[in-house]
Symmetry: C2
Subunit: 230 residues, 2 copies
Amino acid sequence: MGDRQKKAELFEQLARVGKALGNGKRLELLDLLAQGERSVENLAATAGLGLTTASAHLQVLKQAGLVLTRREGTKIYYDLAGLDVARLYEHIRTVATDRVAEVRQARDGYLGTDHTLATDATQAQEVGRDELLAMAASGRITVIDVRPVEEYAAAHIPGAVSIPLEDLHQRLAELPAEQEIVAYCRGAYCVLAYEAVDLLRTQGRQARRLQDGMLEWRLTGLPIDVGEAA
Amino acid sequence: MGDRQKKAELFEQLARVGKALGNGKRLELLDLLAQGERSVENLAATAGLGLTTASAHLQVLKQAGLVLTRREGTKIYYDLAGLDVARLYEHIRTVATDRVAEVRQARDGYLGTDHTLATDATQAQEVGRDELLAMAASGRITVIDVRPVEEYAAAHIPGAVSIPLEDLHQRLAELPAEQEIVAYCRGAYCVLAYEAVDLLRTQGRQARRLQDGMLEWRLTGLPIDVGEAA
DNA sequence: CCAGTGTTCCATAAAACCTTGGAGGACGGT
DNA sequence: ACCGTCCTCCAAGGTTTTATGGAACACTGG
């Protein structure tokens, strides 16, 4: 094998990871896995894919070394291979958003333009991570996790209460009326917290969204809790 | 357009960048561009691609926002869109190498297994970036850049002398006999510096390779010089 | 304004990829 | 041992990339 050919082979192998990241469905799966491990069936249902399709995509991610599997009885759980993978995902997302106008358009279309405009008004809706820690420590705010319970169980911000978005309206009574509420969800591209804040405000509550979400929280190395109870 | 569909659209857009990174030829083009801007013809020739093929690949990279073009007279020069792109490339390379055994095999096959084994002996051949700066400042070493002259001109380590690998043998006399020589090239996956060190040693010189190369040097934010003269 | 160079655009054929359904394998429960 | 569940593997199809020539375009220099 010639030198030229070996070089091509090396780049072709490197491209394996790129290929794995080069499909919307797979990115969506990674996005879900960034919240914690899940079974194939769960992933397929959540991402709206056929079982075999999801399995095939997961296989590609596995071949690229991005995810790992763990068997528990009859189920197989997939999880990110490591925090470096989450970091890579976040990195590619940042570059895409910074460099491609169409990505920003698609994001605004999904999240709602009003949320993503970087006006002073919107900025005020967001709480920084350090700010959250400080305010939570002094008991000035209540932090709620509006993701599905299973994601809360996999990893959540210490002290946060789990109230999935769909339950929020009927569980309003659990939240102190006089305290500001900070909601968070999966990450920068997740709508749940935006909608939670909107809902709370229409109910006359003081509410803000945490800047980004769980993915970015983990990437900055901040502490997390695991388990179901609050 | 439903929520589900908008979400799919968002991920599909994000995947554009992944797709661009999901092809060996394109990664090779990025690797070359990480050294500095080049014309299409130059890129095609260096990467061993047909002119139209190279152009098509560059178009994909451009659509993904990874490269920019600049016209100068009759030629069009491509360049990385920014340091963030180089960082992303480096990131994907690191994850691929860490997580996929086949990538390591391909790398060893290209660079030569003897170079990549992390033994104490090989470690001693490598000079750290800070170490290089310190030794160069005190005049204890001569730093040579063994890449093609055009890449040296685009960006090089301050104080380094340009001696392309192919000229090295006949220009040995330019190098001080009693001083240690440090050679560098494009980056972690570039063979030139390895071969330069091998050549120098067989000629009885003291020689070591800089850890990684120009790409990583730039990413750590260290200073560079631009231009032809030494 | 013309000729010449360098690059992109277009059409086409070959290759690779995605999806889907069905067969098969591993495990737990009975 | 047998069945049900969950997942992977395999094969077939339809769709999307990729490579490669030739035509078209943009710019420079005369």
